[in-house]
């Protein structure tokens, strides 16, 4: 769906490599989305906007200011995190108990971000380079950019798991996702945890935007497809489940690669939607259950 993967040869190792790379990127995109819903009960339709902002921050810092791809990545990670946190504090915190209002506001935000970026940078995709060059892995050729995107995505996902499972703040985050009243009873402040989650989700989405932008180019509407993907992945994995989101990302990523490879690449956008419908019909609670974050 993202059009991120180079045309594949009918080679098993190539297929596996592409599945791993694409799925880890999808997991990174979906993690923030599921965290915000799992902890705050908020459906953040502006999640895709963070991806777009991340890609364009990196484009400005690396290409226009000339600081290089990795500085651009760091800037995107930090700035989208801070912006997302400010967005929560300035707007969402006041309306978070009104889900319909949150959906409307985040949708409006997403559209506004797209329009501003299109106005400022035009509608042509911008080239975003992390690293140039290629490497051969198990008989398949992978770009350094794809490799770095995979490695850093995996690192961020593992870091998120470690944070949630082994730190005091991470456990407070899990606890809040399970029971807001229970969390308040032990002195955990839900709003503080929500802020932490919005900052984290924004940063992850920003990084994902840089990785996606460096593979397919940065464009004003690049956040739309990941948002739809996030829905499919998160519903498949179980809304709010970190583990489920990673697994869901691998299922959707695998199906997409297999569709491109063995069916028809033009059907790739249909795959996550079919997954979404199938899960809603057959197992609406998802693979790991709903409305909790279990790591």
């Amino acid at each position: 769906m993202l059009g991120t993967v180079a045309p594949l040869q009918a080679n098993l190792s190539t297929v596996l490599v592409q599945i791993v790379i694409l799925s880890s990127l999808y997991a990174l995109v979906a993690l923030g989305f599921t965290l915000i819903f799992g902890v705050g009960g908020v459906l953040n339709l502006a999640h895709g906007a963070n991806i777009t902002i991340g890609a364009f921050v990196a484009f400005v810092v690396s290409s226009q200011m000339g600081y290089g791809g990795f500085v651009g990545l760091a800037a995107a990670f930090v700035l989208t995190g801070l912006l997302s946190g400010a967005y929560y504090l300035g707007l969402i915190k006041r309306i978070q108990d009104e889900p319909i209002m949150v959906m409307i506001i985040t949708l409006v935000t997403a559209v506004a971000v797209e329009e501003v970026i299109r106005f400022v940078y035009g509608s042509q995709p911008k080239v975003l380079t992390l690293l140039s060059g290629r490497v051969n892995i198990g008989g398949s050729t992978v770009t350094f950019t794809q490799l770095v995107a995979f490695a850093l995505s995996a690192l961020l996902i593992v870091g998120m798991f470690a944070f949630v499972n082994y730190t005091r703040q991470g456990k407070a985050l899990l606890a809040t996702s399970m029971s807001h009243k229970g969390a308040a009873l032990v002195g955990i402040e839900a709003n503080r945890i929500n802020l932490l989650v919005w900052v984290g989700a924004g940063a992850l989405a920003g990084a994902a935007g840089v990785f996606l932008g460096s593979i397919q180019g940065a464009s004003w509407a690049m956040g739309r497809a990941p948002l739809v993907l996030s829905f499919s992945i998160v519903v498949l994995g179980g809304i709010g489940s970190i583990r489920g989101s990673v697994l869901g990302a691998f299922v959707v990523g695998t199906l997409e690669i297999l569709t491109v490879q063995y069916v028809d690449s033009s059907l790739t956008g249909l795959t996550p939607l079919l997954v979404l419908v199938a899960v809603l019909l057959l197992r609406p609670e998802g693979l790991f259950g709903r409305e909790l974050v279990e790591a």
Partner: protein, 268 residues
Amino acid sequence: MDWSIPGMIAMAGTADEAAADETEASSADATTTTGDGILTVEDCAVSYGKVTALRGIDLTVGEGEFVAVIGPNGAGKSTLCNTVSGFRDYTGSVQYHGTEVGGQSPRDLVQRGLVHCTESRDLFGYMSVEDNLTLGAYRANTNTKERLRFVYDLFPALEDRTSQLARTMSGGEQQMLAIGRALMGDPDLLVLDEPTLGLAPVILDDISEGIEQIREEGVTILLAEQNVTFALRHADRIVLLENGEVVRRGSPEELREDDYIRESYLGG
């Protein structure tokens, strides 16, 4: 006054009268305490929209004291607990350690030693027993390992299930866990809301024993309880709430002798 008709329906019409008669029925002063007042509630009222859940509540809980609030379903016991622990807005005054509760977040109150164990328990169902307990000490300035030891000694059943998910435990075990989690916060004032609700008699004995030990540790307890026999067994003072108002108060001995209490709550 005719106290012969028990239960809520009759009491709906007699609560005002009972409240007026309250001072006659009890020889205890309305706010008598056995020490310094940790909790002082004065003329407190709470409403849910147009429905008044509590009105004119006066209550003081002294240092180290065990006060039980009894009453039927819907009397306002849980509302009182939620108000005291900062979860509900109120009019009048609710002071904890001399500071008004209104305006303080539940987090601040927990940090200052006011810990609430709710009727619904509100455990972290997909977390282990030990994680639930450890999070209970989230705001406490104590040695977590020592607190864990204290809780495990109090409820040995929990130590056998440290890695079990809270949601897979029986109701009695969950209640022990909820009380244990509250104790991890090293409370000065422990607010216990209906700890015996729905428990089998054998589990009730364990909870009863645990509460007695907590009391021996010097923890001040405010208990909300529908099980009057249980409350009379443990408390220093009893307050009877009906329809959001205090209609009786006194020592367990005094209330055992009260005709209305005997007929309405102790089966004659």
